[in-house]
Symmetry: D2
Amino acid sequence: MSFNTFGHMFRVTTFGESHGVAIGCVVDGCPPLIALTEADIQRDLDRRRPGQSRFTTQRQEADQVKILSGVMVHPQSGLQVTTGAPIALLIENTDQRSKDYSEIKDKFRPGHADFTYEAKYGIRDYRGGGRSSARETATRVAAGAIARKVVPGITVRAALVQMGPHQIDRDNWDWEEVGNNPFFCPDKDKAKFFEDYLDGIRKNGSSIGAVIEVVADGVPAGWGAPIYAKLDTDIAAALMSINAVKGVEIGDGFATAALTGEQNADEMRAGNDGPSFLSNHAGGILGGISTGQPVVARFAVKPTSSILAPRKTVDRDGHDTDILTKGRHDPCVGIRAVSVAEAMVACVLADHLIRHRGQIGG
Amino acid sequence: MSFNTFGHMFRVTTFGESHGVAIGCVVDGCPPLIALTEADIQRDLDRRRPGQSRFTTQRQEADQVKILSGVMVHPQSGLQVTTGAPIALLIENTDQRSKDYSEIKDKFRPGHADFTYEAKYGIRDYRGGGRSSARETATRVAAGAIARKVVPGITVRAALVQMGPHQIDRDNWDWEEVGNNPFFCPDKDKAKFFEDYLDGIRKNGSSIGAVIEVVADGVPAGWGAPIYAKLDTDIAAALMSINAVKGVEIGDGFATAALTGEQNADEMRAGNDGPSFLSNHAGGILGGISTGQPVVARFAVKPTSSILAPRKTVDRDGHDTDILTKGRHDPCVGIRAVSVAEAMVACVLADHLIRHRGQIGG
Amino acid sequence: MSFNTFGHMFRVTTFGESHGVAIGCVVDGCPPLIALTEADIQRDLDRRRPGQSRFTTQRQEADQVKILSGVMVHPQSGLQVTTGAPIALLIENTDQRSKDYSEIKDKFRPGHADFTYEAKYGIRDYRGGGRSSARETATRVAAGAIARKVVPGITVRAALVQMGPHQIDRDNWDWEEVGNNPFFCPDKDKAKFFEDYLDGIRKNGSSIGAVIEVVADGVPAGWGAPIYAKLDTDIAAALMSINAVKGVEIGDGFATAALTGEQNADEMRAGNDGPSFLSNHAGGILGGISTGQPVVARFAVKPTSSILAPRKTVDRDGHDTDILTKGRHDPCVGIRAVSVAEAMVACVLADHLIRHRGQIGG
Amino acid sequence: MSFNTFGHMFRVTTFGESHGVAIGCVVDGCPPLIALTEADIQRDLDRRRPGQSRFTTQRQEADQVKILSGVMVHPQSGLQVTTGAPIALLIENTDQRSKDYSEIKDKFRPGHADFTYEAKYGIRDYRGGGRSSARETATRVAAGAIARKVVPGITVRAALVQMGPHQIDRDNWDWEEVGNNPFFCPDKDKAKFFEDYLDGIRKNGSSIGAVIEVVADGVPAGWGAPIYAKLDTDIAAALMSINAVKGVEIGDGFATAALTGEQNADEMRAGNDGPSFLSNHAGGILGGISTGQPVVARFAVKPTSSILAPRKTVDRDGHDTDILTKGRHDPCVGIRAVSVAEAMVACVLADHLIRHRGQIGG
């Protein structure tokens, strides 16, 4: 059972609420002797950090991570390395502004988890969404930075490929561009377009959905396992667990429903370095096990539920009312999901490396 | 860790290969005193059973289930009931025809798990796909029949809503029709169309993909949990673990990427029986917890990889070759996924009922 | 959660009741390409099999094991090997004689699980103890036979070292003798003594307790892990899970309570093959991790609760009554625990090998 | 897999090293709406805190606990309560004195985990034992304080019943006395004796073992489950996981080996409040399930390995050497195990309450 833990051998347990003292996580099962400093983790956190453009929430969080355990300076090399003990990471909350949320204390915001938390627990932390806030994802990004070091030789990258009804042009895909715009968009032209488009959404107090694509290069063939430890199953669960995600697909995904067997087959040819594939409809996974091709997943993020337009709802006393959410919010929460998705997939891969090495050896 | 187990509190461990002695499963954690006979399970198995129309594999399997443990006749009521002990179910394989597969022993079929199993394990059971065969899903259907009895008052139904590029007309949706055609299609007119359409595919030795929708009615508000025990996360993993599935979505799914916050919000109104929602874009789940509305999921099934058209591949010795798969196969493997999906969702719900009751009580 | 599963990476799920159709288990996570036949498993089962001397229950069970899945003949070597898929094992029950138990259907036998099963489940399988019967341990022995093959180079042996108040003379310890007497006793003289001693107990319709010692030779240094995956923690849990076990100790165990730090320290000296220890008070485990010395555990088995002397009890209707248990029972159930303990420790070691290899590599 | 997590539904993940920045834990699965303040936890921590008498390590730690997440002030009652979210607890290390340990950096202390950590991880945190230090147990005590609130009506108490070869007189047992002496000893006279006895040990720079008994009153009949979720199995694992523990027994434990079936049976009689038992040899557990009697467990703690007498050992370079441990240590580490054992048993009971309620309801 793992309400707040993901992974089996590389296990990440997260804690903390949007407006509590701190958020953090414990990474358990990390192999020893891996060089690791706070700077390694901070780098990834800085990418996800809110308040860096007008397109993400204006909440100002330094998101400074502290490593509380699990590392020490290696007596011989002088490098700080992991010891095999659990690595606890702490990020203090500094800009909570609880007052922003006082108005919504007794009303259920449509699209939010307000009603369901109340239905389940009989109580809900209304301050900024509490545990259901996207703030929790900062701890995933921190854990993911460690996971990346567990799987050297593997590159996990994500990019925004659709915002609202507007898809990127795949012929323009340039990974370099992802860092050059606030949308993590690989299509330079479309990124320009998104700037105006999202400004319009933002100024209207509205919000919009998005689709993100994650690609892991360098995954060797043979990771994953039937039947319920499938690599794609775990990736699907990992991505679906991100706030506001409503769909996940691997490789050609939903498009395969319209394909024939001839169209969908990834044919193979022999080569000097072993067999290779002539296409990658499968997204690098067959029968739940990696093929050696890039692992490709995509997921849909619904529009932020907090909007300025008043919506019909009920209050805790069971009366009809309206609500509009002021606070500080992301007009397109999909943007921040980009780095979260990379982290989740990196964690899944670290987990599968350890599982595979355990069962098979080598 | 659970290579062949799914669920946490309602746990199903499956075993068996397509052409071995038998397949089966062990259902652990089933509450006691639930009336259960082999007939209860057989009913669901019969729906999934191959060879019932020309549109599924012509393999003839009686799929007779035997309960090996975990039940006894109640001394007072005289009914056979569960005892709380693990329930082992066995289905003997009777129509294996291993010879059909001798030709493909040393070749990797494109789109199949042949290459990846070999890459992982250094060996693969080439007889009918071995463990990667859709035959394993019969054991899931059997487990699902038990799960249904654990969650009385909840109805889990699935239907085929797209085959190839052809979607049903949702205005024609009639659950009654699902049992009246070999496609489990709720749209009578489209079912007629599919008959000709799939005959064409079948006669060409080709195959086609599909989309299936699962709906669970009667799920109370409050099941599921943040952050990694989300109801939608578990449903996504459960459906993605079904053979040939390449995408999963909840509620409006990928369509939400194109929506604004105003369009996507499910507004609420007060009522005599508590708050109700004016729409269900969320598919009955917010923040990973059920809202009390119908839980709606959809998934894409790729076209069967076994087709009669020759495809380029390599053999185990690393030489280029071609392959065409004779055997007995489903032209649209999505058809048989309908009952499997119902079973998986029923199992997830049984699991979440037990988890919820444990943590919250009541 | 694992009501009926033990192990994390080498996972064994058992099922079946004393008087049901069959008992069995599913072994999941077994590495591929390990030679395995039914004969390998039958050998261990035959050692545990009841009815082989007048000192164990006269129930006659062939205990013939069938492998249902997870193996195939290797195409090159011609040997039957594991494939990495779950291995299901089945043992049919053939000599159930349910009528023996009709009398105790409505009474709680003191020392048995009758009352507690009824308290928990509201029903209990009174036929031979149902799920709580020692019969379940046959499936553990079967799983243990597979575990032994996963950890080649390691020898796991157990022996009875105390019966009633009578301890063996450790100077007489001879592993060869363990197979020469019906008690699995390593002390030839004491085995002779036990023959008369236990005959007396048996003829009185009484029963007696025992202490068993398990020794694993060849375990390399470094297996196990702090804090809750300790090797000794897992061994303690594994042995305590055996029917009728009431105590477990590692190395000098309870005797260490009376020792000083000087007496208890296992001093070390350098050697050509690395450091070695001058004693083994620790039983081969320090800080939860193996030292490279023999792993030594001992456990106490209470006397069989089924005895001929009438005991005070109550019936299901809440009335005072007496009970005496006729059936066919072991006068010293500790005897059959010897092979079960070996199996459990072998399974724990297989599990830890896989975990260690996963986290550390190599 | 859970290297640093214990429990299934009430899950505790601990982190931190003896001489790191901080230690702490995350308690996941705690039911909502339970009143909880830092003071509730501090009370238990203060009992365990070192430096309170000359019989425990002179390390001075305030052991001030901070709750980082998982609680909020209830909007109606004004009480701080749990929300169902993970509860993170942090205890900063304030008195580390790393210099004390510089001498032992390259030598393996006999009886310590130095050699085995090095063998496993290729590195070890030599500062105060790092992760293997008894300091980690402070976090268990903190978690246990929460567990106690999850099982109201149950009292979990422990006491030291043997030090060295000296056992208490059970006729003198008085729970009130446990708080009146630095040994948590329930026998007033023996506590006096221990004062002189342990002073002698301490002044010699030696150490001594102990036996602790834990009793849980108020556990209802029916908690626990066959076969591998037995209540006694989990208690055995929980106690064996405590530092320096070498043996665990339930009820009469090892003494049952010398008993006959007649002697060991706990007879039953009818009563107004249901059946009751005439004795409790079983320690409140039959077949892995609670009987409704007090749950009784005992465990042996070996003498502290850090002593002033020089012992033979080797250094990391493989040379023979001697070592004597100066630092600040407990002459009888069993004393501090008393509160840890209470915490562990409380956690096991909280876990089983949730599991039971989940599977059975009510």
